[in-house]
């Protein structure tokens, strides 16, 4: 019953949107299907493939090095390489453009130090698909890195030792044991990356790289919401396609976990040590440190005109709505997961996992789906409870981000197995009591990780927050967006961005401590 209600709440807006795809007032649909749709599809798929490849490279190599070897800076990079997850993609894109464009930091430095000719010689056009791909990868690789790091250092440690004893060198250990055994974790992380790429809007619009999301927004801005929804339906189908593929691949490679043994880190010698340090160091430098320092400089030069008392209210708003919604969403996915497991035999699990589909839909489209039923309820009750309330906004977050907490919890529950349930039922404990007395305490760490992941995602969220927030209510993301988008000034958006990123790194540090234990 609970299950049906939750899944219903999540799926209803999705259906509400899809129905609109059949409206007949699609004034620009002919234009879109004739000129743009195939471009949207191929660009999106290209971007997904490119970012997938790039993030896997960026994530798997340092995760492998850090899990298995001792080298200079290893402990620092273990944590530091997680940090870029706090960077919203659009801020990363604006920041890097501000570094590389013709009035940017690089050109300024080159001009000042080595003269105009040199500056002209080293100039390159940053706003190309390749750099877009790279910028997105910088923000997204930590999803895979975290998953692989856990897998390499816990799940496959003993098997790696076994292969060592069988004479496998480090390269064949990686390809024959480490990588195949990390496949489920890697794919789970990759799925999140793919969804983020498909839903990315700010950076692709700025680079004028025509993907599904940019198509959706363009159509909508041209007053043709119906066409926007139709493109969203195609995007939805693409997302389900990727969901399906990753699901099959994960199931195929399902493995039993070995008992945990402490991994012994082999000391890397001389040039290997240097290479490992360089790889991790450069990745950290480009994915976090450089854009962060650039933002810091901008923030220092603009904070006096941008930071007012309001600004602290905004930071506080961001923090409270994010943490509250994250906690509620995690609890709900916990209940959903539990309810799904209880009625496993009649497809409860499958029903519950339908709830994660919301992750594959751009926030703005979810917002459309929500506005309709909410407006109906609000109007008929003569109230303002849903539209433009924290509550309504939280429901939108729930629909969009349930997948994040659900997946984090599902992994932990699967490790635990159903024996606990059965044992509890044997003791004549009611399922509800079993849930709170047995699962809740055991899953505490997983619950905490889920809250953190959702928290970071909500903080960065933009399109739903913009439209569904209460009146006179700003968050750091909306402020950063306001300056970067309408005022076309990355510099002025820096103070909000930097606080946003700092707020995001704190839970990431907690997260790091948790996965270390």
């Amino acid at each position: 019953m609970v299950l049906l209600v939750i899944v219903g709440v999540i799926l209803l807006p999705l259906f509400a949107i899809l129905i609109r795809a059949f409206d007949s007032d699609a004034s620009t649909w002919k234009l879109i299907s004739e000129f743009y749709l195939s471009k949207y599809i191929w660009n999106s798929i290209g971007l997904v493939i490119g970012v997938s490849g790039m993030t896997i490279l960026m994530a798997v190599i340092p995760a492998w090095l850090i899990a298995n070897y001792k080298f200079f800076g290893r402990k620092f990079f273990r944590l530091a390489l997680l940090l870029p997850i706090a960077f919203p993609t659009y801020i990363m894109a604006y920041t890097y453009t501000g570094i590389f464009d013709s009035t940017g930091t690089i050109q300024q430095l080159a001009n000042a130090l080595l003269g105009n000719d040199f500056a002209n010689a080293i100039y390159f056009d940053f706003m190309t698909p390749f750099w877009l791909l790279l910028v997105l990868s910088f923000c997204l690789y930590p999803y895979i890195y975290a998953a692989c790091l856990i897998s390499f250092s816990n799940d496959s440690a003993q098997h790696l030792e076994a292969s060592k004893m069988l004479g496998a060198n480090s390269i064949s250990r990686f390809f024959k044991i480490g990588l195949p055994m990390a496949r489920p974790a890697l794919l789970a992380g990759l799925f999140l990356v793919i969804m983020e790429v498909l839903n990315e809007y700010g950076a692709v619009q700025y680079f004028n790289f025509k993907t599904f999301t940019s198509g959706i927004f363009t159509a909508w801005e041209n007053g043709d919401l119906t066409s926007a929804v139709r493109i969203a339906a195609v995007l939805f189908a693409t997302a389900i396609f990727f969901l399906f593929i990753t699901h099959i691949l994960i199931r195929k490679s399902k493995i039993e976990k070995a008992s945990k043994i402490p991994i012994v880190h082999e000391q890397l010698k001389k040039h290997h040590n240097v290479l490992a340090f360089l790889f991790c160091g450069l990745l950290f430098l480009f994915a976090f440190l450089i854009p962060f320092i650039q933002l810091l400089f901008w923030a220092v030069s603009t904070y006096s005109e941008v930071v007012t008392f309001d600004f602290y209210v905004v930071a506080w708003n961001t923090f409270t709505i994010s943490i509250l919604a994250a906690i509620v969403i995690t609890l709900i996915s916990f209940i959903l997961l539990f309810a799904g497991n209880q009625i496993r035999n009649i497809g409860g699990k499958q029903l519950a996992s339908l709830g994660i589909l919301g992750y594959s839909i751009p926030g703005a489209i979810i917002a459309v789906g929500i506005i309709m039923p909410f407006a109906f309820i609000d109007t008929s009750l003569q109230s303002n409870w849903l539209l433009g309330s924290i509550f309504g906004l939280s429901i939108a977050y729930l629909i969009r981000f349930m997948a994040v907490s659900y997946n984090a919890l599902d992994g932990a529950v699967q490790k635990q197995g159903s024996r606990l349930d059965e044992a509890a039922l044997n003791m004549k404990t009611k399922p509800l009591i079993a849930m709170f007395k047995i699962h809740f305490p055991i899953l505490k760490p997983a619950l905490f990780i889920a809250v953190i992941l959702v928290f970071v995602d909500i903080m960065k969220e933009l399109p739903m927050t913009l439209i569904l927030r209460p009146m006179n209510y700003d968050t750091l993301a909306t402020e950063a967006y306001r300056y970067a988008e309408t005022n076309e000034s990355a510099m002025q958006s820096a103070p909000a961005s930097i606080i946003l990123i700092l707020l995001g790194t704190i839970p990431v540090i907690f997260l790091h401590k948790l996965i270390k234990n």
Partner: protein
């Protein structure tokens, strides 16, 4: 001599896991390293494998120094086979590929793996995945995988700990046979005296990182160095400062008198608890003895603790 350990010491922080360990083993010999958890036996095993490095001392296998102050040969370069406690079969590879993992591509892999599978009675299971095998089968795959590299030395880490009690004897015999057939030198690390006595030619007893006795099981049984070692082989009673094994307590004769405190049937005999003065003694006895009755006893043979 296949292996020689000389003054091996290993510390983890402040804790000395192994101190001044010295022993050697002959080619083709099977020795058991017996100790409770925390005794340092796993550390010793990992040092022999090269998964840990020693702080001081010297480890020589087949006349080659593998590890001392200046040398360290990486595990993948050592010719040592290891069977992990829970087998650590590669979950994503089938039985054949698991066994063939360490076999060089230059040799005739198929024939070699097939013959090993025959020896380990796994023929026909080539395509099975590890999770589709029984515990005993998994163990044999792990053994075959370790033997496939033709190691100079085979190490078994707690080999029977995950197996059903009823299966243990059978599998011990099987594995002992396989080891003897292949002629490999073997070290078994265990905390079960039964594993050690049934499989090993000699037993090394570790306690708190020190080797306290190493000899054949018969010799250690007869000449334990101390009470701890003696007790590893069964119940040891102590009466008026004299130690003796339970089976050396003879009831119904002698001039001392004890009271029966308990008597219950187990393993074909009545396990009997007696009280003499304030001291409790235990022995197996063929007959039931009513509780609270008195009975005479004598001691057939005292235990004397030899100096190592």
């Amino acid at each position: 001599m296949i292996l020689k350990a000389h003054n091996i010491t290993k510390r983890f922080g402040q804790v000395e896991a192994l101190s001044n360990l010295t022993f050697d083993m002959q080619k083709g010999e099977t020795i058991a390293i017996l100790g409770e958890s925390g005794s340092g036996k796993t550390t010793l095993l990992r040092i022999i494998c090269g998964l840990e490095q020693i702080d001081t001392g010297e480890l020589i296998i087949n006349h080659e120094v593998l590890n001392d102050n200046s040398t360290f040969l990486r595990p993948e370069k050592r010719n040592i086979g290891l069977v992990f406690q829970d087998n650590a079969l590669f979950p994503h590879l089938n039985v054949f590929k698991n066994i063939a993992f360490g076999v060089s591509r230059k040799t005739n892999r198929f024939e070699k793996v097939s013959s090993l599978m025959a020896i380990t009675k796994l023929t026909g299971l080539e395509k099975r995945m590890p999770h589709e095998l029984s515990g005993g089968q998994q163990q044999r795959v792990a053994l075959a995988r370790a033997l496939a590299t033709e190691p100079e030395l085979l190490l078994l880490d707690e080999p029977f700990s995950t197996l059903d009690h009823s299966l243990k004897n059978e599998i011990r015999t099987e594995i002992k046979e396989i080891i003897k057939t292949s002629g490999v030198s073997c070290i078994i690390v265990t905390h079960h005296i039964d594993d050690a006595t049934s499989m090993a030619d000699r037993i090394a007893i570790l306690k708190n990182g020190e080797l306290i006795q190493m000899n054949t099981s018969k010799f250690i049984f007869d000449n334990p160095v101390n009470e701890y070692v003696a007790k590893l082989f069964g119940i040891v009673n102590e009466v008026d400062g004299v130690f003796f094994r339970a089976q050396d307590l003879i009831l119904g004769e002698g001039n001392r008198e004890a009271i029966v405190r308990a008597s219950y049937f187990e393993n074909g005999l009545f396990q009997t608890t007696l009280q003499y003065k304030n001291q409790l003694m235990y022995c197996p006895h063929p007959k039931f003895l009513p509780i609270e009755t008195n009975i005479n006893f004598s001691i057939k043979k005292n235990l004397s603790f030899s100096v190592k």
